[in-house]
C-alpha cells in the first residue's frame, strides 16, 4: 500500500517536472509544475515531514504558482512549439538519466548513510512534530531566520519599486 502511494507521488513529481519542459503553453507548464509540487509534498509526507509538506503546498501551490499564472495572464499565453524529434530525443535522454539515477540510488544512498551522524537512516520521529520546527528555528537558527526575514522585506520593497509605474510616466500619460 505504502509502495503504491510512493510510486503515485513519484510519478506526479517527475511527470510534472517533465511537463514543465514539454508543454508548449505557459499555463500548461504552470499546471504541470503544480502536479510536481503536489508530488513533492506527498514525498515529504511519506518521509514523515508533515509541517514542511503542507507549508510547501501552501507556499508553492497557494502563492508562487498563482503568481506565475497571474503574470502569465498579464503577459498573455504564448505557444513555444518544440519540434517533435527534439521532444522525443529529450524524453529518451531523460529516461536514460532516470534509469541511471534509479540504478545507482542504492549505492548513492549507502555512501550517504556512511556519512550520517547516526550512521544509519531510520526513524524520523523528530520531523513529525510541528513544535520541533519552531524550537529548531528560534533556538539554533535564529540568525538565519532573521536574515531570511530581512531578505523577504528587501524583496518586498524591491518588488514594489520595480513593478510600480514611475510617477513621471503616469503624469505624462494622464496629460495625453
Amino acid at each position: 500500500m505504502e509502495a503504491a502511494v510512493y510510486y503515485v507521488f513519484l510519478a506526479m513529481t517527475l511527470g510534472g517536472a517533465l511537463g514543465v519542459l514539454l508543454t508548449p503553453g505557459y499555463v500548461g507548464a504552470a499546471m504541470s509544475m503544480l502536479a510536481s509540487m503536489l508530488g513533492v509534498a506527498g514525498l515529504m509526507l511519506m518521509m514523515g515531514a508533515y509541517f514542511p509538506a503542507f507549508v510547501m503546498i501552501s507556499v508553492y501551490a497557494g502563492a508562487v504558482l498563482v503568481l506565475f499564472v497571474f503574470v502569465v495572464m498579464l503577459v498573455g499565453d504564448a505557444h513555444e512549439p518544440v519540434r517533435l524529434w527534439r521532444k522525443f530525443a529529450f524524453l529518451v535522454l531523460w529516461a536514460a538519466a532516470g534509469a541511471v539515477v534509479g540504478l545507482y540510488a542504492p549505492e548513492m544512498s549507502s555512501w550517504a548513510e556512511s556519512k550520517l551522524a547516526s550512521g544509519v537512516s531510520g526513524s524520523s520521529g523528530a520531523l513529525e512534530v510541528a513544535k520541533n520546527y519552531g524550537y529548531a528555528m528560534f533556538k539554533n537558527n535564529m540568525l538565519a531566520f532573521q536574515i531570511s526575514g530581512l531578505l523577504l522585506l528587501a524583496a518586498m520593497v524591491g518588488v514594489i519599486a520595480v513593478a510600480k509605474e514611475p510617477a513621471v510616466r503616469k503624469r505624462r500619460r494622464e496629460m495625453v
Binding site: E2, Y6, L10, T13, L14, A17, V20, L21, Y26, A29, M33, S36, V40, L43, M44, M46, M47, G48, A49, F51, P52, V55, M56, V59, V64, L67, F68, V71, V75, W94, A97, G98, V101, A105, P106, M108, S109, A112, L116, A117, S118, S121, G122, S123, S124, L127, N132, Y133, Y135, A136, M137, N140, N141, A144, F145, L151, A154, M156, G158, V162
Partner: protein, 101 residues
Amino acid sequence: MHCQLSEFLAPALMLFATGFAGAVLKKNAIIVFMCVELMLVGAMLALLSFAAANGDVNGGVYALFVMAIAAAEVAVGLAILVRLFRLRGVVDVRDMNSLGD
C-alpha cells in the same frame, strides 16, 4: 515512519537535473523561472530526506528557509519580467541582449 534515503534522493536528483536542463535549454523567461523553482525544490527535497534520515529537524528548518528564498526570488523575478514586458513587449531570453553587443 519508514524512510529509505535512496527513495527520496533519487527523485530529488532527477528534479534538480530536469530543472537545470530546462533553465539551460528553454528560451522563455517565465519557463526558465519555473525551472529554477524546480531546482530549488529538488534541493529542498534532498535536504529534507537527509534530515529525515538523520532524525535531525534542523534540515527541515533549512528547507523552510529555502522556501522563503524561493518565494522572494519568484516575486522579484516576476516583477522584473512584468516591467520588461511593459518596456519591450517580449519575455524571450534571446531578446534580452542589449548589454551584449
